[in-house]
């Protein structure tokens, strides 16, 4: 188990350095001089520009900039934005919000996706199943931002059921609608995955054995069918946490949430490498950890899997 963990963490190292280097290089290539942009229309004196460039390490070659940045990360210094705020502060401000949002979306899609998927899989080919399939297809096909606008317009503005935007007051009720929007597409995928998996397992030998030895239907379905069907679903959910946090840019924009997406979008337009790279780095770490967690969860779901 520990050896397996160690090997996985070693494998994650190149991913960590590769992804940060790649993003850093991409931001380095962004057009526009951020220092000159600081001066706005009035411009900035050559001496001051020089001084600022030195302060932000912009006068050094690319690879030196990157290494200095990585060195900073390991001592907890994520750099400072051009307006003087430490990037670390931005991180601790934005990530909890997006993390809450992503966890809520993940919980919603897991509960409803697995629930409906189970029922659909048990009644494959019946009217309830077909209806759910059509709904899931529509949810996948309609882009997130359209679902977002429609929900915001009808649930928020017309009917006034939920708050329209989030803004500074982050709470369960304000985040509920964005979480539904963010998790909608994945909900449809989880539903379809669970459905296929359940209907496949229903004809498996171990289910026939369980029924034959006299177990009740609910017990067969929950303990034998569902537990085995969850393995692909858990894989998907694990990979999805990272995707939800990174893909929240649109949802956060629509509902005015001050999270990762909004901050990143601003930083990209201001050509600020440390912010973009720091945020992406944390996203990559979330992705790696979530996937590792999923692999460990396999062992709990399927006793045949053991990590040596």
């Amino acid at each position: 188990m520990l050896r397996y963990l160690g090997r996985r963490l070693l494998q994650a190292l190149p991913v960590f350095f590769g992804a940060t280097l790649l993003i850093y290089a991409m931001v380095f290539l962004l057009p526009g001089d951020p220092i000159l942009a600081l001066g706005g229309d009035r411009g900035i004196s050559e001496a001051l520009a020089e001084q600022l460039r030195e302060k932000y390490n912009l006068d050094k070659p690319f690879i030196v900039q990157y290494l200095l940045y990585i060195k900073g990360i390991f001592v907890g210094d994520f750099g400072t934005t051009f307006s003087g705020r430490p990037v670390g502060e931005l991180l601790t401000q934005a990530f909890p919000v997006t993390f809450k949002l992503a966890i809520m979306a993940l919980a919603l899609e897991a509960i409803f996706g697995v629930g409906f998927g189970l029922v659909a899989g048990l009644r494959k080919g019946k009217i309830f199943d077909s209806t759910l399939l059509v709904i899931s297809l529509i949810v996948i096909a309609v882009p997130t931002f359209v679902i977002g606008f429609l929900l915001q317009f009808f649930v928020g503005i017309r009917w006034g059921l939920l708050p329209v935007t989030v803004g500074p007051n982050v709470s369960f009720t304000t985040l509920l609608m964005p979480a539904i929007v963010l998790g909608a597409v994945s909900f449809a995928y989880v539903l379809r995955l669970t459905r296929t998996s359940v209907s496949e397992n229903l004809t498996a030998d171990f289910v026939r054995t369980a029924t034959a030895k006299g177990l009740s239907r609910p017990r067969v379905v929950t303990v034998h069918v569902l537990r085995n069907s969850l393995i692909p679903v858990v894989t998907y959910l694990g990979a999805d946490l990272g995707a939800l946090m990174g893909g929240a840019i649109v949802t956060e924009g629509i509902f005015n949430i001050n999270g990762v997406g909004g901050t990143l979008y601003k930083a990209i337009q201001q050509v600020h490498a440390p912010t973009v790279v720091s945020f992406t780095t944390v996203l990559v770490i979330v992705y790696i950890v979530a996937n590792l967690f999923v692999d460990l969860l396999y062992a709990a779901l399927d006793p045949r899997i053991r990590y040596a």
Binding site: Q11, P14, V15, G18, A19, L22, I23, M26, V27, L29, L30, P31, K124, G125, L137, I138, I140, A141, V142, P143, T144, F145, V146, F149, L150, F153, I157, T196, S199, E200, G242, A243, G246, G247, I249, V250, G253, L264, Y265, I268, Q269, V276, T280, L283, V284, Y287, I288
Partner: protein, 320 residues
């Protein structure tokens, strides 16, 4: 013991064999021995034809492709021609969907928007399938350090969220925004999924007997890979590519929606139109319906096609 058994008189078994005179040799001779047995693909096609979902998706895809290729057949109005005096005018003869806030004809814009979506989707998928299957095949087939290196590179690209990377790169190529830029950006960051699937498929067949047979008959490693291993990985690649075609269309729309995809002054994109419509949502909510409906139907077509093809190619799912 054996001897004893053999000597036991058995009931006459001769009636189990038809006598030679009864065998209809002529009819047996009719079997065409040159015809190949039904391949996976013929089988899949036979299965596919019977599925209504296949025909529905085929019609959706075909309509999108016809709209993309020949938009002039459906409307004579220039989608770029807008009159502010007609802002938010209701539908009228010749302009069935009405006008948006800038006074552009919504029907014309919906028709012309198909081109960007279809071209981006199809081209990106072709590039992604090529790049992904080549990387995956090399990693899976040659193994060893090739595999370690390529798998780590795949991991790196997989770990970076697609939309995020696309935003940064689109920002780099600010001056060169166009269909090809979007295609390149999506292809560079979209290939890892197919690479992983190809690698898995290649690894699962590379130790099969028919691969060993090909090798022992003197086929080179490259020929073995291309002629014997890759055809077996083709089915999952095609299925994944069809489904992801729909999602690439969505990502293009997302980028255009954020204002960093296709240039709005040169190309019509449903994503950009949705963004525009969302700003006049309170005055005229129905405007949002047309570009998003068209986008959703196109994406739906490709996703359903992927589903149908997957079911047809998967013998396990075919039984039911």
């Amino acid at each position: 013991m054996r001897d004893k058994l053999d000597r036991i008189d058995r009931p006459d078994q001769s009636h189990f064999f038809a006598s030679l005179d009864d065998a209809v040799l002529d009819e047996v001779d009719v079997v065409d021995e040159t015809a190949a047995p039904a391949s996976l693909w013929q089988d899949a096609w036979r299965n596919l034809r019977r599925r209504p979902i296949f025909w529905v998706s085929a019609v959706l895809i075909l309509s999108a492709v016809v709209l993309a290729a020949l938009p002039g057949l459906f409307t004579k109005t220039d989608p770029m021609f807008c009159e502010l005096t007609r802002s938010l005018d209701l539908p009228e003869p010749g302009h069935p969907f009405g006008f948006d806030k800038q006074g552009c004809d919504i029907f014309a814009r919906t028709v012309y928007g198909a081109r960007a979506s279809v071209v981006v989707g199809v081209l990106t998928t072709i590039f992604v399938a090529l790049l992904g299957s080549i990387v995956g095949a090399i990693a899976g087939f040659y193994g060893r350090w090739f595999d370690s290196l390529l798998s780590r590179i795949t991991d790196i690209f997989f770990a970076i969220p697609l939309v995020l990377a696309a935003i940064v790169v689109m920002q780099i190529f600010k001056q060169y925004r166009g269909i090809l830029t979007v295609v390149m950006v999506l292809a560079v960051f979209g290939w890892p999924q197919i690479a992983r699937i190809t690698r898995g498929a290649v690894m699962s067949v590379k130790n099969s007997d028919f691969v060993t047979a090909a090798k022992s008959l003197g086929a080179s490693r490259f020929a073995t890979l291309v002629r014997h291993v890759m055809p077996n990985a083709l089915a999952p690649i095609i299925v994944t590519a069809t489904v992801s075609l729909g999602s690439f269309i969505v990502v293009e729309a997302t980028l255009s929606f954020l204002g960093i995809g296709l240039p709005p002054d040169k190309l019509v994109s449903w994503g950009a139109d949705i963004a525009k419509a969302s700003r006049s949502l309170r005055d005229q909510p129905s405007i949002l319906f047309y570009p998003s409906g068209a986008l959703a139907l196109t994406v739906l077509g490709f996703i359903m096609m992927g589903d149908a093809v997957r079911d047809a190619l998967d013998p396990k799912a075919r039984k039911r």
